[in-house]
Each structure stands twice: as C-alpha cells, then as structure tokens.
C-alpha cells in the first residue's frame, strides 16, 4: 500500500500513530512491510488457505461476534439436503460436471427457498445462463436456526468446511510459521467486536488470481464473522490501481455489464424480451425489486422518443451474449483472425495484458487498430519494435494492420469525473486546451458517433435501428467543438423526460418511460441541476465524524460513504459502541441518522418485521442491514452468484510447484478458464523445469504498463531499469550476481532483468520442499525513455471463472544467470503460427466448450 498507494498510506500511518496495529502479508518485503508492525511472508496464491485458517481459528475458539453473526448474516440459514461440501467430495462441491467443467448450482440453494445473488445473473457462459436461477429471485421462505446448531445451517457447514485449515496446514501450504499465523489471527480477533474494528486492504495481489473472487470472499466471510462490515474502521478495502477504474465498472466498458451493474442480456431460445430480462435479472424482495426501473431508464436515455412501451424500449436491439467475450477471449479470437478492428484508449495491452507476446501477435492479425494515448506506447508500435519483429517472426512489411495513433488529452485538458477507489466521484475542471490535435475521448466518441449516425441516417434495416434512434444531442462548445460534459453527466444522473428536470435520486426512477437515466447508481450526482461531484467543501475533518466529509464531491449510491452502514448499529438501532458510532436510529425523529447518509430506508423502524409474503423492500426487516440481498442478510455462504463454489476452497494456483495438500485429488480450481491452445502452454503442477514461483508487483515510481510513467523523465530517473528481486539462496544456486543480468524463463517467453539479490524475498519451506519466489515489476516495454523486457510476456492466459481475470500474481518459471540469447518471445514463434492455422470458428469458441476439464 505504501508502495502503490502512498497517499492512501498516509491514513494508515495516522491510524498507526493512534494505536492501530498494521499487519502486512505479502510474498515480498516491500516498503509497506517496513512500516508495518508485523510482516508475514506468504507463498503467492495461497491466501485462501491462510484466511481459511483464521476462519477456522475464529470458529474453533468461538471468537466471532455472535450477535452480529446471528442477526446480520445468513449463518443461521439452513441449506437444502442435496448440498454436498468439499469435505464430503474431496475438494468438489455437489453438482460438478467434469465434462463441461461447470457446476450445476441447484443443489447449493437454501432450504425452502431459491435466491439469486445481489448482482443478478453474472455468469459468463450460455449453459449457466439457461439455468433457472433468477426468476422469482427468492422462492418461498428460508428456514433458520438461530441457535446455529442445525447440522445443515450455514454456520455448521462453514465449521465443517474449514475444519481442515489448521495452523499446521497453513504452515505447510503457505510457508507461514505457526507463530506468525497465530499472531495475525489473534491481532484480528482482539481488534474486532463491539468496541474495535479491523480492516482488510487488498489490491491486485488478490485480484489477479484464478481464485480471485474466492480470495476476497474468504476475507468477507472472516470480516462478517468478526462483525467488521458496514462499520467505521471495518470492511474490505479494494485498493484499485487507476484513477477511475471504479468508474469504469460502474459505468462499465465491460462486455457483460450494462450501466449500474445490470447484466448484459444473454441469447436464449426464442426471442428475448424485456419482460424475460426483468424476470431473470430482477428480484421481488430487497432493493433489486426496482430492477425494472433501472433497465428501462437507460433504454429511455439511449433511444429517446423511440423507446416506448410498444418498441419494448428498444431492448431487443441490445446485443446479446452467448459466452465469454472478455478481453482475453477477444484477443484469442483476434489471433484467429476473428476481429477486424480494435480500439485501444489509454491502455497498453502489448505490455499490460497477460501473455503479452500473444496480445501483440493478435494485434498483427487485425485489419486496423486505433490507439489513443499521450505518447507512442508499445501497443501502437508493435509493428516496428516488438520482440516478435526483433526476432524476425513478424516483419513490418507483412503486418497488414493499419494503425491510427491518436493524440489524447491529459487529465487537465478536459473536464469530467473520476470515481476513486472509495466510490467517490470527483469532478475535474479543465485548465487548458489540449495541444495540437490532441482531443479527449469524449470528443472522439462524440464525433465518431456523429459520423456513424450520419452514415446510417435513414436506414430502415432492423439492425440499424439502435443507431438511427440513438439519442445523441450533446451540445458542443469552443473551437474544438468539444461536447458538453455536464450534459453527459446529466444524462447519467437521469432526468424527467417531460420536463428535463434532473432527478434527485434513483428512487425517482420509473418503469413507465417517464424517466431517463444513464446509470441508476449515479442518480443524484446532478441533483437539482448542480454538479454534486464538483462540491469542494471538506468540512472540519477534526470534528467527530468529520472525516466523512459528506460535502466533498459525491459518492454513489446517494452520497453514502460506507455501504450497509446500518450494520454499524445493533439490531435495535443503537451503535454497537459509542466509540464506533456511525449511523443510528433516532427514536425522536423516527428516522435513521448519523455522520453518513444511512444506507437503509430512512424511516424504516429497527423493530419492523416483514409479513411472510411481503414483497420488494417491504420484505426487508428493520434489522436486516444488507438490503441489496433478497434476504437482507450478508452471505457467509453464497447459494447463487458464483460459478466455482458457494464457499471458498483452497486450490493451488494454476501453475504451482507443489501439490494441493488439502485436496490432493482436485489440485487446482476445477472451474478455472484455461484456454488450451498451442500458443498458450501451461506448466504442469510441480514441473521440475519450472520450480520457482514468480509474482508480479508495482513500484511507487511507475504506473502500470508505463504509458504514463516511462515517458516522464522525473519518474524514469527514479526507477530506470527492469529488475527482478531474487533471494540470495536461489541466486547463489544459479550463479546470479547482485546487479548482474538474469534471465527468467517460462514456456511462453524468456526475459532478462537486472538481479536484485535481497532478503526482501525469502525462500519458504512448504511441505517437503523449499519454494523460492521471484518478484517482478511489470512496468517495462520496448518504447519510452526507459526500456526493458516485459514481465507479462512470461504469463499464461487462464482466468477466474467468475470475472475472467488472469493469474499474474503467481506463476512458475525458472531463472538463470546472464542475458537472454534471443528475442523474449521467440520460443513461441512456431506455436503462434500454428495457432493461426486454426479455422476461425463462426461463434465464440468458448461456447462450444467453455472450459477445458482440469487435469
């Protein structure tokens, strides 16, 4: 955190001086470790085992926050009889189909009810889509046992599930000594409960794994058991890496989402109507019961007058998914010649995406490529100086890709909003005009849209309907004819169609086409026609509760700074402790109040209990803080929404030097997406040729793939060269000298780096062998002021089944002394060419066989 989010660490340091205990768990001793009270070295990719061990410890020692767990989580809920845990099936849950590599999740349901996850249907594959998971959202009424004694209640299942995760096991799997493990567990337990809270912060060390979602789920379970969710000083903090990466998922440029976390429609038999979509995606209990208003309003915003009840609001024209169209799947299609054109805006896949050699080869197969950036980044120059060109595998004169490199405006040369890691939407004013022909992406999209609309104007083809009717009336201003950003923001916020009045909140949204709203969760950002994201009143942060600064910018939803903050009060609505008061029930006023905007219906009494057949928000009780969930409870156990299990289970990383000690029969995550192709070779578990675990990391002085830092001399001089951190023992073994060259080898590539031989990386003893870990920063590429080999050349394409993120935080490799002897990706030259011979499939290749079965 000190390494990649130094200013965020400011507050950690303050907390530390106020007595907080800071624990840092990382394969690599970093700047953060130096400032932490405790540092624990862990083997990359074993976090579920580590956290699972703590969960077991918490359960076994009865150290959980009992009141919180019983009232606010689904610990007491009883699961149906068909469910079989990994304990019974040796590492698999019930419902696994070895042929497809998918789970049939019907057996994971609650007893007496069927629920869908808060985020709606999120699965990636056609098969899973066709299961009846969503309709009715929650059928019947769940059964609970508040004594937590029922053998099939979540609590007991949890206890059984994690019973294997003993401290000894943690030591053997993670390489963390018993003492260190117990120190962390005790610190967490003693700093949780009524009076104290503990917090988890994570970044890509958790997300870039094939088990990413389950790692974070494990932390969530632990935090729920300890009562650390929805309370100040608690929670799980995602430290996201980019200025508006949160915003880019809220207002998503993601294939499977529509704005506001609505899922993209999936193709299904017959004709998919809006009603079908609302049936599968919506809910009849909890906040998602307003689902219809959230989907109709954006359709209204997009298609304007043409979006009517008669036209089904144009829903039929929204493109539909049939499988995985994530970035990596798309690039593989491109490699097979299936993608004509590619827009890359402020992104550098030639360096930043996993298996970047494959990415670059895919770029060479496209007809055209538009890159928008401030400098000549690697993605734009792959045809000139990429390793593939250096090796002679690709020749510029044979690469038929047309490349447009468009100069982009910088952050001060355009106005707009960024959503930071805490969901705070902040508006940036414009200071300058961009130089020369540099333009904002807003300008680019606007003027592109105008051209496209002009081309299709008057077309009566069905497929052109959405373009012809696309509402695109943003006013332009200035010599550059820049579109008005506040007009776009107003559309995102939503307005009353008849009057154009900006909406004050998503509660004003209607499903009858009288309101339009681009992204329901951002509704209220333009309340009363005022740009709320531009508010800059910090308030007195020294005052009690002042750190909330509710008038500094605007946080979605509805300016709430802590989600589910109803949980900061006990079931009766009183703060769990005076020290930790945040939001509470004010009996006199008859409403919820506090330092923050209550994340709960403001006037719902804490003692309200729903009728058994209550629907929508009426079904949420006054003591059920998690109102986005159909049952109002936080889910320790996830009956729906995840593809790889209702509970986190430790699987070894896809590439691992050691066998899975907990579930030897399963090994790696069976639901992982593995693209088995010749140019994507995977190292088998325990492959003796690749005994070293590599993990990637970022440096304070550089930013991601270097597009924004390797062209800045002030930053380049601070970290001018690609290096690898290696422990002294491994270095001695391979004759690698501190400061000398070393080469890192995988089946995909070999890269060279300067060796930093340091105890910041320490060999770990895991069961039966010594595991050496290697730390690799991944900022370098072949362009810019500072050049170096690209770490991502080494990586393999595999993905988490839930979110399709790659595993770059843990893969195996080998190291040797000296420089590489040929271009970094030359070893795959043949395979890549073979890949080219594969006939491009008509449809998405994954739809045929979504995942290869695990070995």
């Amino acid at each position: 955190m000190a390494e990649a989010h130094p200013v965020g660490f400011r507050w950690v340091m303050k907390a530390k001086e106020r007595g907080a205990r800071v624990i840092h768990i990382d394969p690599r001793y970093s700047r953060t470790s130096q400032l932490a009270d405790t540092y624990v070295a862990i083997r990359a990719g074993t976090d579920v085992a580590f956290l699972g061990g703590i969960i077991r410890h918490v359960l076994e020692t009865e150290s959980y926050f009992r009141d919180y767990v019983i009232q606010y989580t689904n610990a007491s809920t009883i699961i149906n009889e068909q469910f079989r845990d990994t304990e019974e099936l040796d590492g698999l849950f019930s419902g696994f189909n070895p042929d497809t590599g998918l789970y049939d999740r019907s057996s994971w349901m609650y007893e007496g009810g069927e629920v869908a996850s808060a985020a709606g249907v999120r699965e990636h594959s056609t098969e899973s889509f066709n299961e009846r998971t969503g309709a009715g959202m929650m059928m019947g009424n769940v059964e609970r046992d508040e004594t937590l004694q029922h053998p099939r209640c979540v609590f007991q299942i949890l206890r059984r599930h994690f019973s294997r995760y003993t401290p000894e096991m943690v030591e053997r799997i993670c390489g963390v000594s018993r003492e260190d493990f117990m120190a962390v567990a005790d610190a967490l337990i003693t700093n949780s409960g009524r009076e104290r809270t503990g917090m988890f912060c994570y970044a890509n060390g958790w997300t870039q794994h094939v088990e990413a979602v389950q790692m974070i789920r494990t932390a969530a379970i632990l935090q729920l058991l300890l009562g650390n969710v929805g309370r100040p000083g608690g929670g799980i903090m995602a430290l996201r890496g980019h200025a508006s990466i949160q915003g880019s998922t809220d207002v998503p440029t993601l294939y499977d989402l529509l704005p506001g976390y609505l899922s993209m429609p999936r193709a299904r038999e017959g004709h998919l109507t809006l009603e079908d979509y609302i049936d599968t995606g919506g809910a009849d209990r909890g906040w998602w019961s307003f689902f219809d208003t959230y989907i109709i309003s954006p359709l209204k915003a997009w298609f304007g007058d043409a979006a009517t009840k008669q036209s089904d609001y144009g829903f039929a024209h929204i493109p539909k998914l049939t499988g995985n169209h994530s970035h990596y799947a798309t690039m593989l299609r491109a490699l097979d010649g299936g993608v004509d054109g590619f827009f890359v805006m402020g992104q550098n896949p030639a360096v930043g995406s996993a298996h970047s050699g494959l990415q670059r080869r895919a770029l060479a197969k496209m007809k055209w490529l538009v890159v928008r950036d401030m400098a000549e980044i690697e993605t734009a120059t792959f045809w000139r100086n990429s390793p593939e060109v250096q090796s002679g595998e690709l020749r510029p004169e044979e690469i038929q890709t047309e490349v447009f490199l468009m100069p982009a405006a910088s952050h001060i040369e355009k106005e707009g909003t960024f959503t930071n890691t805490q969901r705070l939407v902040q508006f940036r004013d414009k200071a300058l005009d961009p130089p020369g022909d540099a333009r904002s992406e807003l300008w680019f999209m606007h003027h592109l849209a105008k051209r496209v609309k002009a081309h299709y104007a008057g077309s009566d083809r069905d497929r052109d309907w959405p373009i012809v009717n696309l509402k695109w009336g943003y006013p332009e201003h200035g010599e550059m004819r820049e579109p008005d950003v506040e007009a776009v923001l107003k559309e995102i916020n939503g307005y009353e169609v008849a009057s154009g009045r900006p909406l004050s909140s998503f509660t004003e949204l209607r499903s009858d086409g009288t309101t339009a709203c681009g992204c329901w969760i951002y509704s209220g950002i333009y309340e009363a026609g005022v740009n709320q994201a531009r508010r800059r009143r910090p308030g007195d942060i020294a005052a009690e509760g002042g750190t909330v600064s509710p008038e500094w910018a605007w946080a979605w939803p509805a300016n709430r700074r802590i989600l589910y903050n109803r949980a900061s009060a006990d079931p009766q609505g009183k703060p769990w402790s005076e020290r930790k008061r945040y939001v509470w029930w004010d009996e006199e006023q008859g409403r919820w109040t506090g330092y923050d905007v209550p994340d709960f219906p403001a006037d719902k009494r804490p003692d309200y209990r729903p009728e058994p057949d209550a629907r929508a928000m009426d079904a949420i009780g006054g003591a059920d803080p998690f109102m986005m969930m159909a049952d109002g409870r936080a889910w320790l156990y996830t009956p729906s929404g995840l593809l790889d299990g209702p509970l986190p289970t430790f699987y070894e990383p896809v590439e691992s030097p050691v066998k899975n000690l907990l579930y030897p029969k399963v090994g790696t995550d069976p639901a992982t997406i593995r693209w088995k192709r010749p140019e994507n070779p995977l190292h088998a578990t325990g492959d003796p040729r690749y005994p070293v675990v590599a993990t990637t990391f970022r440096l304070t002085e550089h930013h991601t793939a270097g597009g924004m830092s390797r062209s800045v001399p002030w930053l380049v001089e601070l970290q001018p060269e690609m290096f690898a951190e290696i422990d002294p023992q491994l270095a001695a073994d391979r004759g690698i000298e501190n400061g000398g060259w070393m080469t890192i080898v995988t089946e995909r590539a070999e890269i060279e780096a300067r060796a930093k031989v340091t105890d910041r990386l320490r060999p770990l003893r895991v069961e039966g062998c010594v595991v050496h870990q290697l730390g690799l920063p991944w900022h370098w590429g072949y362009s810019g002021l500072s050049r170096g080999d690209t770490t991502n050349d080494l990586g393999v394409l595999t993905a988490d089944p839930n979110v399709s993120i790659q595993e770059t935080k843990s893969f195996t490799c080998d190291v040797r002394a000296g420089r590489r002897h040929r271009a970094s990706t030359a070893r795959l030259a043949g395979a890549a060419l073979r890949g080219h011979d594969v006939e491009p499939s008509e449809d998405d290749p994954l739809a045929e066989n979504p995942k290869e079965a695990s070995e």
């Binding site: 130094p6 965020g8 400011r10 430290l239 980019h242 990466i245 915003g247 880019s248 809220d250 207002v251 440029t253 294939y255 193709a267 493109p319 539909k320 169209h325 491109a334 993608v339 004509d340 054109g341 590619f342 402020g346 992104q347 896949p349 007809k367 055209w368 401030m374 400098a375 890709t401 447009f404 468009m406 909003t417 960024f418 890691t421 705070l424 939407v425 200071a431 300058l432 130089p435 022909d437 333009r439 592109l448 849209a449 496209v452 696309l470 950003v485 923001l489 995102i492 910090p538 600064s549 002085e701 930013h703 924004m708 830092s709 062209s711 800045v712 930053l715 810019g784 002021l785 998405d844």
Partner: protein
Amino acid sequence: MTPSGSRPRSFESLRRVPVIGRVMDWGMGPSAASERTRRAEARIAGMKVTESVCPFCAVGCGQLVYTRAGELVDIEGNPRSPINQGTLCPKGASSRQLVQQPGRLTKVKYRRPGGSDWEELELERAMDMIAERMIAAREDGWQDTDRHGWRVDRTLGLAHLGGATLDNEENYLIKKLFTAMGAIQIENQARI
C-alpha cells in the same frame, strides 16, 4: 528567535575581537542579496488555478493546476482535499511533466498496412477513416442469430479496450455508442 550555535573556537575568538572581529562578517549582509532575491515570490502568485484530480492511482488525490496564458506552470496537491490534504506521491507530483512530457503526441500518426514508418494525418481525415473502418467492421462481423438460431443482434467485428483513466462520461459514451453499434467486445483495464 536568536539562533544559538557553537562555533569553532579560533574563529569565534577572532570574531570577538573588537572592530576586527566584525570584519569577519563583511560581505554577508544585505549587500549580498540581489535585487531579484529581494523581490522573490512564488511564481504562482496571482495565477489562474484550476482544481483537478490526479490521473494515476485510484486514491483520487486533489490537485491544484496553476496556468498562465494557456501554459501549464505548476501542479501540486490540493490542501483542501480531505483525501490527500495537499500531499502527492511521486507520480502525482510528476503530473506536470506527464502533460509536458518530451514525447507528447500532438498529431495523428498513421501506419499503412505493411508500412515501415509513421505518416501524419489530418485529424478530421483520420476520424473519417476510422468511422469508415468501424462501419465496415460492424457489417463484416454482424450476426443476427447464433448457431442455435437464437437472436444475438450483434457484431464481433470490432473490439474495444479502455484504460481506467478515462472519465465516467467518456466511458458512458463508449458503452452507449458501441452497444448501439451492436459491439459486445467492450472491455477495460478493470478486467486486467
């Protein structure tokens, strides 16, 4: 406040000698200050300021951007921001150079198929060419139905990958236009 300080004995005893001692301080007083130093002030005094947000990581630090006559002069932390209280990390502190970086692009560069070097393009022409290609790719990769005969109404001919330093409004227009075009392969950094 008077500074206290020991001085090396011999030097100090020399300075204590009446009259001659004072000689040791000659050349140090007001005569040494130049006129420019006397008038010294921060260069941003009286300059136009704009409030912005750092473009690097997701902490969202506030920045103050000082400009004069269309030229960027200084970017520093915004002391009023409750997030960073005026502080910045090295990346944030370097953002002025990010804007003024030596290799900053200001012209559209174009590389024709099989070309071995960049050519320059007029912006409007480039936009026209891109729109043409985009429309062609849409038509080329269009699917009304998938292999089961289910309606998909989409094109697989074009894809998009966005960085996460794009504004929400920009992302919104990207998703809106591309979805209307029927493109589904719209992705960004969040998946990487």
